[in-house]
């Protein structure tokens, strides 16, 4: 078997130091993705640093009218929080559309952001996958790629990021607080957390070794309606075929790229007075069909136009 060691520190700096100091170490939060991948021998950590005892499960209003969410707040708590439901309903909508009740009870804000792709080839060690085994190739590129990316993919990888929550955070313009290996803290935008695959799809985020997300910070809620729409094969417990988050005139797409996809061209079109349909198509002009996933282009366009209209009219889902 693959032996690994385990510790459960109570101090953030100690946790960060432990991961930074140990090659192959990983943080363990809710474990809903990491433990599955370990069972499949896809993740092979040498050391697990359990962060469930860290004092990161609080939520507080910020002085500018935003909300600071500890990275260990569970998805269930976050979605149910009265402040989130009233001021950031797009976030509640997104979270409850993801996973299952049981998973959301375990999953954390930080862990949700760092979950890995659900690409079927990534989950199948008998197949080439550059994300799992760099240099082995991408099976999805010419394969059964119905779920693959239509934006920002590379010849090395066309996997998507599966998070719903991250799409809402991207549309909200949220940022992250982290602690780095040297104990320093830094702030970065959620939009800057994930990388496009390029030649190194196995490197998924801009976090340094050992760097720990300690909080998600929401800015004051922008004006305008908030809508999260997700299309999926079944009514619950299914990854998105595509999703759209609309926050006023800010728009992000999910399940279409290696990262939550901020639809800047759609936003620009809206800013210059375009209608919902035209604005939606502005971003989709850059989308790519890989064979089985072309339907996502029309799907996202239709969902975006409808979600924009819904946000504007304030009609219910």
């Amino acid at each position: 078997m693959r032996p690994f060691t385990y510790e459960r520190p109570t101090d953030v700096a100690a946790a960060v130091k432990a991961v930074a100091a140990t090659p192959g170490a990983k943080f363990l939060a809710g474990g809903t993705n990491l433990l599955d991948l370990m069972k499949l021998d896809i993740e092979q950590p040498t050391h697990l640093v359990d962060v469930n005892r860290l004092p990161l499960a609080g939520m507080e209003d910020t002085s500018d009218g935003g909300l600071r969410i500890g990275s260990m707040v569970t998805n269930s708590h976050l979605a149910a929080d009265a402040r989130v439901r009233s001021r950031y309903s797009v976030l509640t909508q997104a979270i409850v559309s993801g996973g299952s009740g049981q998973l959301r009870n375990k999953a954390t804000a930080g862990g949700n952001l760092l979950q890995r792709t659900r690409c079927a080839y990534f989950y199948d060690p008998s197949k080439p996958c550059n994300k799992r085994l760099p240099g082995s190739g991408c099976s999805a590129l010419d394969g059964l790629n119905r779920n693959s990316a239509i934006f920002g993919a590379s010849e090395a990888c066309i996997a998507t990021h599966p998070s719903d929550m991250a799409v809402a955070l991207t549309a909200l313009g949220a940022s992250l607080e982290t602690m780095t290996a040297d104990g320093a803290t830094r702030t970065l935008a959620v939009a800057d957390l994930h990388r496009l695959p390029g030649d190194t799809p196995h490197i998924e985020t801009t976090l340094a070794a050992g760097e720990l997300i300690t909080a998600v910070v929401l800015p004051p809620a922008p004006a305008g309606g908030q809508v999260y729409r997700k299309a999926r094969d079944r009514a619950s417990y299914a990854g998105g075929l595509a999703s759209v988050a609309v926050v006023g005139s800010q728009v992000a797409f999910g399940a279409v790229a290696h990262k939550p996809w901020r639809a800047e061209k759609t936003e620009a079109a809206l800013a210059s007075g375009a209608g919902a349909v035209e604005a939606a198509h502005a971003e989709l002009a850059g989308a790519q069909d890989n064979g089985k996933n072309g339907f996502k282009i029309a799907l996202v366009a239709r969902m975006t136009a409808d979600a924009l209209a819904q946000a504007r009219e304030g009609r219910g889902a």
Binding site: M1, R2, D41, S100, R118, A120, Y123, D124, S126, K127, S139, D142, G143, L144, R146, R229, A231, R232, D233, R234, A235, S236, Y237, A238, G239, L241, F295, A298, L299, R302, M303, D306
Partner: protein, 754 residues
């Protein structure tokens, strides 16, 4: 041999004096299961500490193993043995049968260097822990010489051939009648390959005592598993004690033994230690059987009033190259609608993917998706209500054989369902009912599934405390077999459920064929009934012949059983008193059932009607269920709760078939793209809204002494077609390619300018 006439006489079950028959009795083993104390095969505690096995699977579809290096695996921590085709102990050859009475032939594991499908086990490791076994298995290096393989069914339809020993059924002049028909439908429907996705994977715990092996395994057929292992090991079947007490779902996928059974037994013998071996979830998808994909061409030629004059249902399906399994997807249509000119038949493509095999309602489940949509298309073309179209084609006798029906309540199912569901509110014109961004529609379909009775035995014992124990080499795959056997025993013997024990799943018990083909309840239940009737006779003779019994010297004709007593009018004593006094060691008898000599003189089926209401999201093409209702006629119902659970479970599978379920071969590798339950989507709770079913009053006295019939497969038959027809009624998109996922529906919506 008996006649069906013998079965018409009243008996304790049909009289049902205690009212136990038909009652929604709680599951006999339910408490054990929900408290985690029902030990499934892998969880059974062996007599000493076990070794844990792991199977390594082939990563090519077809070819030969050219080299296999196990040195690193053998040196890996905790490893006890590593087997490949080069060093596995000798087994009988595949298909060999030393004992001609064996129900299954030898099925050797790791039998050679040939790879016949992706996922085929090619090596076996046993170690002190499962983790060490898996780690070692992953160190085995296998080299293959891959060969060209047939992997793409849709691209290989021209390879289809007539299955061995079959021919088309031709009645009248189909081609001529079709050509002359004023209204014609000629469409082809596709249903995908499906996996069983049982909650419990295949698993075995095995150990030896001397030359006899005990195996706890997860299998639907006790004797089949026992005989297959005995033949494989070339030992007498009485040297194999097979137990399968609890089974976490079978659905046909566990009708046969897999390599876990063989290798656990061989491994335990080689190690002198118990061995546990299970398939992984991924191996369940890749390396057990599946329901094959089916391409069905349906041609209907009708008069303007809807009466069918020409009727053709032709199926193309597939199976493994070395096999001969045929998904008889057209068979159901031979008994369903009247039409004088008929053509039905099957063609088979041999492929290099895992074995196709039976899965819940083999034939009907995929086959009915075609005809029941085609009837909807014909109804629209003719401007006739889809129910009315079916009623106009209701046959008086079996449309193929001309035999009388034992009982046929299809019309009543459809009419009752229409009334209860509110079918009259359906707008026959598609795309007319809006609810926000949703288009709403209704669809219906008929259901038919054959009923079967196979030979079976059962044993029943009463002890001195009055407890009655029924023993049978039967299985309960989650359907409620334990429960209905307890009900039959309690009602027949006139005792409460608390005084009955049921013991199943043991090769040393009187044999029953197991669970499958919805023959389980009728077959095992009838044998149990006969055993109990024999026990009544034995106890009556015991009492009448015992000078100490108040029944002494009475007329056996007047003996009755009830309230735990045996009685002749007002002379009575409790069963416990009688047995403890007159037969202190207890009384044990057996009973048997076999089909009546004239059973085949009747066309015998179960029937139903499905009604579905769906919403189609006009933005995304997502389809969501709103309501579903089924009405079924399936003989006398033994347990209202477990029977309903069976038919609603089937309906839910129909929803999955219509909307989400299916697997696809990656043609580069021969593997399935979906190999876990996050990829292979069965309905979740949120997908099933307001789904209900009822049974019509029925007793089929041509079926068996109790007038019962199977319900395990009926619910899925036609269910997916009702959903598909509702999608069309909702939005006007007619899809003929299951499952009807949002991408396909969206394409249809856009093609209509929606």
């Amino acid at each position: 041999m008996s006649s069906v006439k013998d079965w018409a006489a009243p008996n304790p079950v049909t009289e049902n004096r205690s009212g136990i028959i038909g009652k929604g009795v709680e599951r006999y083993e339910g408490k054990l299961k929900v408290t985690g104390t029902a030990a499934y095969a892998y969880e059974v505690e062996p007599p000493s500490a076990p070794a844990y096995g792991y199977l390594l699977a082939a990563t090519i579809a077809k070819g030969r193993i050219t080299a296999i290096d196990i040195s690193a695996a053998e040196a890996s921590p905790g490893v006890k043995l590593v087997w490949t085709h080069l060093n596995v102990p000798k087994q009988a050859r595949r298909g060999e049968r030393i004992n001609p009475r064996s129900q299954r032939p030898a099925n050797p594991a790791l039998a050679g260097d040939r790879v016949e499908f992706f996922g085929q086990p090619v090596a076996f490791v046993a170690a002190d822990t499962w983790e060490n076994a898996r780690a070692a298995a992953n160190l085995i290096r296998v080299s293959y010489a891959a060969e060209p393989a047939v992997l793409d069914f849709r691209a290989s339809l021209d390879l289809a051939e007539m299955p061995d020993g079959e021919e088309d059924v031709l009645i009248g002049d189909f081609e001529g009648a079709y050509a002359r028909a004023p209204a014609q439908i000629d469409e082809t429907y596709f249903s995908p390959l499906q996996n069983h996705v049982q909650m419990e994977p295949c698993a075995t715990t095995a150990w030896w005592e001397g030359d006899k092996v005990t195996v706890h395994t997860s299998i639907q057929m006790v004797k089949g598993g026992q005989h297959a292992l005995a033949e494989t090991l070339a030992i007498p079947s009485e040297k194999v004690h097979l137990l399968t007490r609890y089974i976490g779902g079978g659905f046909g996928g566990k009708g046969q033994a897999y390599d876990d059974l063989t290798l656990a037994a061989l491994g335990a013998r080689a190690l002198g230690q118990p061995v546990k071996l299970t398939y992984t979830r991924q191996q369940m998808f890749q390396a057990t059987i599946h329901r094959p994909a089916v391409s069905m061409r349906v041609r209907l030629g009708a008069e303007p009033d809807g009466r069918l004059n020409a009727f053709a249902v032709e199926a193309v399906t597939h199976c493994a190259r070395s096999a001969s399994f045929v998904e008889h997807a057209a068979n159901f249509s031979r008994n369903l609608y009247a039409a004088p000119n008929r053509l039905t038949g099957h063609r088979l493509v041999k492929m290099d993917i895992p074995h196709a095999g039976p899965m819940r309602a083999p034939g009907e489940a995929s086959g009915m998706l075609s005809l029941e949509c085609a009837m909807d298309e014909l109804a629209e073309k003719l401007g006739i209500d889809p129910i009315e179209l079916r009623l106009r084609n209701e046959p008086d006798v079996d449309p193929e054989t001309g035999k009388p029906f034992s009982i046929r309540q299809l019309t009543e199912c459809l009419n009752t369902g229409a009334q209860r569901f509110g079918w009259s509110r359906r707008n026959p014109k598609p795309g007319q009912v809006r609810d926000g961004r949703w288009l709403v529609g209704m669809g219906m379909a008929a259901a038919i599934r054959g009923n079967f009775l196979l030979p079976a035995k059962a044993g029943v014992r009463i002890d001195g405390t009055g407890v009655i124990t029924l023993r049978q080499g039967m299985t309960d795959i989650g359907t409620g077999t334990y429960t209905i056997l307890a009900q039959i025993t309690a009602e027949t013997m006139g005792v409460t459920m608390d005084e009955v024990k049921v013991e199943l799943g043991d090769s040393e018990f009187p044999p029953a064929p197991g669970s499958g083909g919805q023959f389980g309840a009728a077959t095992a239940g009838s044998a149990a009934f006969e055993a109990n009737m024999n026990l009544r006779r034995a106890l009556a003779e015991l009492a009448i012949g015992d000078p100490n019994s108040p029944l002494y010297g009475g007329d056996p004709t007047y003996v009755t059983f009830g309230n735990g007593n045996i009685a002749i009018e007002n002379r009575s004593e409790s069963l416990a008193t009688l047995v403890s006094r007159a037969a202190p060691d207890g009384v044990y008898v057996e009973g048997a059932i076999s089909p009546a000599a004239d059973a085949r003189d009747y066309s015998q089926h179960t029937y139903g009607g499905h009604f579905a209401e769906v919403g189609v999201d006009t933005v995304t093409g997502e389809v969501r269920m709103r309501r579903m209702f089924g009405v079924f006629a399936a003989g006398r119902i033994l347990n209202a709760k477990t029977a309903k659970s069976q038919v609603t479970g089937g309906m839910i599978w129909g929803v999955g078939t219509a909307l989400t379920e299916g697997n696809v071969v990656d043609n580069r590798y021969g593997s399935f793209i979906n190999q876990d339950m996050a990829g292979y989507l069965v309905p979740s709770h949120a997908d099933i809204v307001d789904l209900d079913a009822i049974f019509l009053e029925e007793a089929d006295d041509k079926a068996n002494p109790m007038g019962i019939k199977g319900v395990g497969e009926l619910g899925i038959c036609g269910a997916g077609a009702a959903v598909a027809n509702a999608i069309y009624n909702a939005c006007g998109v007619r899809l003929r390619d299951f499952p009807m996922t949002p991408d396909k529906v969206l394409e249809g919506l856009m093609a209509k300018g929606l």
